[in-house]
Symmetry: D3
Subunit: 278 residues, 6 copies
């Protein structure tokens, strides 16, 4: 359905289950969808491509297999070699900093993707899973999901997004610090009560159906309006109200036009608006 | 009860149902209280006047009639003419930007009003309604209210405040993006669960009563303390903790004085404090 | 259990109920644990010492006696003399500003303490109590607690932290402004629904037990990871996502090392990791 | 030459000495062009009108008479009454704050005017003169000019712009603090060495000629380009490089179009480009 | 001298005139070193490679041929096609925004390069030349250089860095706005007086010699110290003093170590320190 | 002349050469006024005391002896022990970070001192000397001064203020990076041309005389005005124009009063105003 070539991403499945809807599936089920360096770089490239693919308006992100969204980072010998390459102490630390920044860019690719992303989490969703999901726009989970901000248990503070984004997407900073400091597992009900997910469903299958229904609704809307809304909410979250308003005035002076006319015309003619690709 | 002349605002009713309490009512019930350019400019002027009227300490904002708080922006031929005045493309966009900024200033007048504002929402509360309510301080709604962040359905991203303020007054960014991207209608229960409103009542009449009781309580408090609190919460919301603290120390060095003495004296004499006008 | 000398703090009890756990108890029960200038300065010094005491990894903060966490600031003649020392008007205000800043530094010492702090609130928790608790990391309360943002009732806007921190740790800004403008008392259930506390327990005794259990769990974790997490969450709360990420990459390039190796080694050997002091 | 009605501004002369060039002259020469409340409010209104007047692309601002650009604020009995209206101490201070903000808005109207402003200073240029000139875009002075940041000599810190803008338009913060703390008079040579003015001329007449020549050059340029440049320089001055770049990309996506085509076409045809009004 | 493969960059010459010194030469002399899309993308990739090449500690950037550093952007038919691809108005603007951002990233690659860059400008240095040079660390020019912020003359505000960076590297904002609004040519003397360049030399050959001497000095210094200094100056330029200090403390806790020991040891043994690669 | 006890600061001489003028002299001439940990802590305490000493309105800071303002940090065995205490790698780095922050607070005490500070530099002024001088308000130097941002030569980036403050007090970022990356010595003329110092004098004796004359002038001015000006310039330097203006309005509403009346009364009576202590 898309003219972009996504075939080189062997760690992921991509399909287009409805018009303008992309489904990205983390596809290392025998590893509980754990991420190695290849996986995180492919993730970034996929979201870079989707961001500019005019045939995609909305994305669903989930994990293959029954057991896990993702169990997190694969603690491979390669990773340790990468962190510890025979350099003197400070030079090794400069290298560590670069690796963290590279990894951060992969997670941020989801947030920076111009199209909204719906995360559907099930089973094990540890460490990196929370980093990734915090960077999606809308989160759904199954009742059997097991979340954990796992990083403290491997002796480090989370460094690719959870500590930045999780406090801004949930209710209670007291709760947030509790799960971060203890690395304890929490389930669907707690995630929903805290606003981390906006819906809990009984199974992964159901989660994908609900996600797809939501995606189809968003896919019928003006992409100028939806992509503008994502951009402006994220921009404004990080700034004063006044800065958000000023930027929005400039943005909409750029963006208002044909889609507004199409929307109004469709309303007047009681038809369904058809918007151009973006 | 006020010496300020508010009579020229034909799109609004103003009354003073209790000492120091102003009630602003959007008064275009036959249009579902929709806003045209006159309406939004009058709104701004009213809140500018209230902001410096020493006889007002607290404001209630609601909509006239049974059917709507407001249905949003009136999509009039004048509006389209304004957006599209025969100029070349970029000059038209400069003009659009000015109009958006003008409109934003009207909504921000509620937030910038030195006195707190209690919003009471009922019936249809679409588009602009959410922009306005997000700019009030405390929100109450009726059980029949129907909210919608409607802008996506007319082909544009919301540009007069919702995308800036709504994420900062509700619980869950996942939920917030859901209602923004889909423009779906949500009701009182969802608004309450998300913290958008802090109370749900059975009818508009009851909402106005509850709002008035709350307003009367606030009207008995030191206006130096209440107006300072509004100013400092809004200031600090947009800044680091430390910047908020620094500013607050300077502010209170200015503001502490007679009202504190009056409060302490009243406590000691077991009387009710009487504060000066502000 | 600690080699630091904490004995000079007569307004507080300090004990070490478990390895790496400090318990700080406000100890003026006959005054409902009200704070005078000595109390607030001792609070600051205690948290400065704990911040660099390698034998402490986690702190519990509570109030002595059955009746109060703290009733707030003691409105003593000394305080009024301090605010009003025969200077001309502006010079007195410069002095007031210095006193507020001095007081703010005491409350901020809790937030700036490198170790996390668990607040356990019971009974009367007015004014200053909310300032202090908002600066802790994790909050627990008893079912009989009575919170109030009391400052408006003494004629001033809260100026030592509540207006900065409370809106960032609870759900609903509408609710927050309600309790600030009215100074009304609210209880455990409301505090929990708003996310101000993450757990409600039946008694102070139970609260201390629950707090201690939580503290013991956190005390077994890598202090590099936990202290890093506290620092990075607080840093990132006040900044854009991108600034938080950039800082985190630099921080973790400094912090990753031995604790990660210890954690991984313990996992491989199925033993409990033992981390160095910090 | 302009269709806007500027006639009501008796404290100022307005004329249009060349196409698209407005000349605003402070016209109270018998008072050394001192400002009272009327004067500063008229200043604001004039610049608000010019900002949206499509017949103006560039403004020259100077003072009438031989003796002064402006001697600063007129210390009239009305001013003191305004600052001191029989209110209690804190309420009087709230009022003072409003008056300062009102006055600040007048000076900021020059900076916020969408068209660039060239200041031509001569003779006495004290206090308010530096506030005003710091808010212009390009500054020229005569060799006889006498500048002074006078505020310290009347017992207050400058509060309408000098302390914000002067350090950002001159070279040396050491020099800047010297002239602020001492209120000493400095002349054209020192102002030029510090970059406060970019040109010194021998007489007021010459200053107006040089200013007009410069204005005529700017008036031939694309107003989309010039006004965009002013907006973007001012925006970026206050922000990180990256924020400035991000905003600029959005701005130019809005602004690039017809003027660029007109400019390129003129280049190809070796004619002088004619741009639309803005 | 470097193990990195730089051979694919046909628009540039790269050589390594001394140990740890790279020389990047814009190599389209027959086009006055004008940039097309290929050129700007190669520029970015070269600086990305240099940024992590341990054999480079300092970079010289200059233009090939006698006539120009660079004449700016090549106004090719491809560029216009790119800006104008048959899309509706708003979609074309979204595309323009992406192109500007892509171009900005190329210029920012110089600033973000971890190694300092010395710019040597001669001849024509128009438009893009000023954007590029403003992003270098140290600027030298020949006496025959002709600078111009040319963008206004093609009907647009400069959008790839000049408006952000030039005001932060020169003395006088008045002067800066003068050259931006008029697009007038200015020479070496004016550039030096304004601090845009820190040295003027008589010829391009001399400029390269002086640049090389300076580069050799910097190449003998600790790369941890030099790269840290560049990073920290740029970081701090954009932030408050306190934020710069806080970040610097964290950074140096990471970076201090072996190079400091090497430096001190060399001082004690009166030898020349040899630092590790970075 | 001052009632504050300054006697315990053996590394410094303090005297009061004129009413309201304090002179702080770094007094380790046999060590070229190098700083050890005691020295830097005493510096901080002195400026904390001066900041609240009502008998001081202005401070002069210089170095004892003929040879140096200060040669910088004393590289003592204690310092290395402090940096390297037998801890594991990361814990040692946490400790380094604390030491840097402690040191930074000493330098910042000069900037945060409520009274302006005039630095008089002579002879050797290396490393720490530039950090300290950048934190003063007004800088004077002798013609024999030898400045160097020395840190790169001991293998580290400057970390106690130079990289934050120097670029904000001099003209040319190109020049600034040149002296930082090369650690080269520069003299009085270059320092003056760059605006680092605002005056060059022939000898240390002359520098102290000139500094004292300037100090006496400032000491006659309203301390409310002068201290407010220092606070507001520093506050505004780090923020947007608008934030600076907003804060200034609040500040002056607090600060305007008696000193303004005293100033106006003195003007009317043609006497010299006498201001209260602050």
């Amino acid at each position: 359905m898309s003219s972009v070539n996504y075939t080189q991403f062997y760690s992921f499945n991509l399909c287009f289950p409805a018009e303008f809807v992309a489904h990205v599936e983390i596809n290392r089920p025998t590893k509980l969808n754990a991420f190695n360096q290849d996986t995180w770089r492919q993730l970034r490239e996929i979201f870079h491509l989707i961001s500019v693919d005019p045939n995609v308006r909305i994305v669903i992100l989930s994990g293959a297999g029954d057991r896990a969204f993702t169990s997190g980072l694969e603690l491979s010998p390669e990773l340790f070699a990468m962190l510890n390459g025979g350099l003197d102490e400070e030079r090794a630390r400069f290298m560590t900093r670069r690796i963290i920044q590279d990894f951060q860019r992969s997670i941020s690719a989801i947030e920076n993707c111009s199209k909204p992303v719906i995360g559907v989490a099930h089973g094990v969703a540890f460490g990196l899973a929370v980093d990734i999901l915090s960077a999606t726009d809308i989160r759904i989970c199954t009742s059997d999901v097991r979340f954990s901000v796992k990083e403290v248990d491997i002796g480090l503070a989370a460094d690719i997004g959870t500590l930045q984004r999780l406090p801004k997407v949930v209710n209670s900073l007291s709760w947030c610090k509790d799960v971060v400091y203890t690395a304890r597992v929490f389930g669907a009900q707690e995630a929903h009560a805290q606003g981390f997910v906006s819906k809990v469903v009984e199974s992964k299958q159901k989660g994908l159906e609900v996600g797809l229904e939501l995606a189809k609704v968003i896919a019928t809307k003006s992409p100028v309006a939806v992509q503008g809304s994502k951009h402006l909410i994220n921009y404004s979250r990080d700034r004063t109200i006044q800065e958000g308003l000023d930027y929005t005035a400039t943005w909409n002076a750029l963006a208002i036009g044909k889609d507004m006319k199409d929307a109004v015309a469709a309303t007047l003619s009681k038809s369904k608006p058809q918007y151009g690709k973006l």
